[in-house]
């Protein structure tokens, strides 16, 4: 059982940072709604937890877009030398070479590479507002509703990025670099 370093980075970016962010997003939406919808004194407990949770989500979102743009994307968009027939090491060119797969790049990657950045901006803002206001956010209905809207958009943006990332990697995987042997077969 082996994995290349590029495939490992794609795994860390997509299933690690991106996947964890998506999982965390639904939790944050529910918790933010529940905590602020309730006027019960018990809802005041755990403010610190929500602050740290959102800050961790912001860190995950930034790590996801940074590794995507600056580690994996250069491998994805690498240009093959003239006359290269085997495009397996050049995912973008491989997708563009066939009318059956070109839309994964023209729509999927073109959308994903930009929309994904809305997630860290939105969640960093949400973390900052919750950090500053805490349970006081219950007294600012408009702010609370807008923060929830931004968080929904960040979930949608991360969902689009995750879906297209997975499908692009299925059709034209980022491969190469050193091979890491995980298990030795019999």
């Amino acid at each position: 059982m082996e994995i290349t370093t590029r495939a490992l980075w794609a795994l860390i970016h997509g299933m690690g940072f991106g996947g964890l962010y998506l999982l965390a997003c639904s939790g944050a939406l529910v918790e933010l709604y529940r905590r602020n919808a309730s006027r019960a004194p018990s809802a005041a407990r755990g403010d610190g937890f929500l602050r740290v949770y959102l800050a961790a989500m912001a860190a995950l979102a930034w790590l996801a877009v940074m590794t995507g743009a600056y580690v994996i994307y250069p491998w994805y968009r690498a240009v093959p030398p003239a006359g290269t027939a085997d495009l397996r090491g050049f995912p973008q060119r491989l997708l563009m070479a066939s009318p059956r797969t070109i839309a994964w790049h023209a729509l999927g990657m073109e959308w994903k590479e930009h929309v994904a950045w809305l997630a860290p901006i939105a969640v960093t803002m949400a973390a900052a507002v919750v950090w500053q206001y805490g349970r006081e956010l219950r007294n600012h209905r408009g702010l609370r509703a807008a923060v929830l809207c931004f968080l929904w958009v960040s979930l949608a943006a991360a969902g689009v990025a995750g879906f297209f990332g997975a499908m692009i990697n299925k059709n034209a995987p980022v491969e190469g670099g050193q091979t890491i042997r995980l298990l030795q077969g019999d």
């Binding site: 877009v65 743009a69 600056y70 994307y73 250069p74 968009r77 023209a106 729509l107 073109e110 959308w111 590479e113 930009h114 929309v115 950045w117 809305l118 901006i121 939105a122 960093t124 803002m125 900052a128 507002v129 500053q132 206001y133 006081e136 956010l137 007294n139 600012h140 408009g142 702010l143 509703a145 807008a146 923060v147 809207c149 931004f150 958009v153 949608a156 943006a157």
Partner: protein, 119 residues
């Protein structure tokens, strides 16, 4: 002015501490503006070869490096500016939040390739 007033803290009749909404409004509007700048720069880099080449801050990542770096810089600059102006104040929330949400919706639309191609 005492420290509580400086920080925008209000003590209500029910002895509840209430923070001014300015800091939150600044964060939201700046996020809307930053998102919109991202979408607008993505479209500009797609439409104009001159803009596209200027957006290449780091060659391996191409124009995406410039588009995202400038959008983040704009977002953080506007956030700092608005926070400095609005911190400790209550601002008219409705137009500010309306603008932030419209800018966010525009950013979403501009990052969608069929809409960007249509423009």
């Amino acid at each position: 002015m005492n420290n509580a007033a400086k920080e925008g803290i209000r003590i209500t009749a029910a002895d509840e501490v209430r923070l001014a909404n300015g800091a939150g409004a600044a964060a939201l509007l700046a996020a809307g503006i930053g998102s919109f700048v991202l979408g607008a720069l993505a479209v500009l880099a797609d439409k104009s070869a001159a803009v596209k080449s200027r957006m290449i801050f780091w060659k391996p990542t191409g124009p995406l490096s410039g588009v995202t770096t400038l959008a983040i810089a704009a977002w953080l600059f506007v956030w700092l500016l608005l926070h400095w102006r609005w911190r400790g104040r209550d601002v008219a929330l409705k137009p500010v939040l309306g603008a932030a949400l419209v800018l966010l919706a525009l950013a979403l639309a501009l990052t969608f390739p069929p809409i960007a191609d249509w423009l």
